[in-house]
């Protein structure tokens, strides 16, 4: 755009230059005019930069994160396929512990890894909390809260459609040996980012009173910002063994 505009300007100038008229005034704009023109170009540049940043954060980071997450997911699947024996490998947390399937979010399967630092989440995965409260993994069989976080926008945007979840919708967590089927129990559409109580073993705002097998999804809200946090709580309904064909449970069919 800028290039063609300048091109026109220059051809105009060069045709005007050899003319007999006193074209000097047009060729040498005053200092103020020059300063204004540079300022204007700087403004255009800033506008373009901001536009590019939007493209970067809403599109390019998704491309990169999805690519990485797909590769990582493949690795985990391969890992599972190779070690069919039930050993300590079932709790191997290095590459990722399993996949989250939330049909209402229409985002396929989301790899779950350890930690909620940006380094982890920027790879297009969901991370389980280790801080401020350590999440209790469903494979341990213990009562507790399996608290997860993922990006709402950019970097895979794995929880982008979290607002599409309704009470009773299934959230399925797939591990090497089991399908853990949760049902959404309650939703907190907006809370402070300092509200660490939402990832407690028995979150106060969820309405639960006793410890149980819970899952918590956290992300930022409203979309494109991180002013507040959006929380979805679910409770374990049943556990289904993975069969030889990895037939998904009824909720995912």
């Amino acid at each position: 755009m800028a290039a063609t505009a300048d091109e026109n300007e220059e051809t105009e100038e060069s045709t005007a230059a050899p003319g007999p008229e006193p074209a000097g005034r047009r060729r040498r704009p005053g200092r103020i005019a020059q300063a204004v023109s540079v300022f204007g170009e700087l403004l255009i540049t800033v506008g373009l930069l901001l536009g590019l940043f939007v493209v970067y954060s809403l599109w390019w980071t998704n491309v990169l994160a999805d690519r990485k997450a797909d590769k990582q997911a493949e690795k985990v699947r391969e890992h599972w396929a190779r070690s069919t024996d039930t050993g300590p490998g079932a709790l191997d947390t290095k590459d990722g512990i399993g996949f989250l399937h939330v049909p209402a979010m229409k985002n396929g399967s989301v790899l779950v890894e350890k930690g909620t630092s940006t380094d982890v989440l920027n790879n297009g995965v969901a991370g389980y909390y280790t801080d401020p409260v350590e999440a209790v993994l469903p494979m341990t069989g213990k009562k507790g809260n399996f608290a997860l976080a993922a990006h709402r926008d950019g970097h895979g945007a794995k929880f982008h459609n979290i607002d599409k979840l309704r009470k009773g919708d299934p959230i399925v967590f797939e591990t090497r040996d089991e399908w853990y089927v949760y049902k959404v129990a309650s939703i907190l559409p907006e809370t402070s980012k300092y509200d660490v109580g939402v990832v407690d073993a028995v979150p106060k705002e969820s309405g639960w009173k006793k410890p149980g097998h819970y899952i918590t999804l956290t992300t930022c809200t409203p979309v494109y910002t991180s002013r507040y946090r959006y929380i979805v709580w679910g409770e374990l309904v049943r556990v289904q063994k993975v069969d030889s064909k990895r037939t998904p449970p009824a909720e995912l069919r």
């Binding site: 091109e7 940043f53 401020p132 990006h151 300092y194 990832v199 991180s226």
Partner: protein
């Protein structure tokens, strides 16, 4: 500014155009590869967790 750059590019209009396209692509590459990844964590758009900080 842009006019100055255009006048200082070598060759005829087509060569200039080609060089400008290459320059623009180089700038976009540097931005996407180095500048934006550096700037992003400093901006408050992508925090998704609850924490004490």
């Amino acid at each position: 500014m842009y006019g100055w750059i255009w006048r200082h590019l070598p060759g005829n209009v087509w060569v200039k155009l080609l060089v400008s396209v290459v320059l623009v692509l180089a700038v976009v590459y540097v931005l996407f590869q180095y500048v934006f990844p550096w700037a992003e964590p400093l901006l408050p758009f992508n925090d998704v967790t609850v924490d004490n900080q």
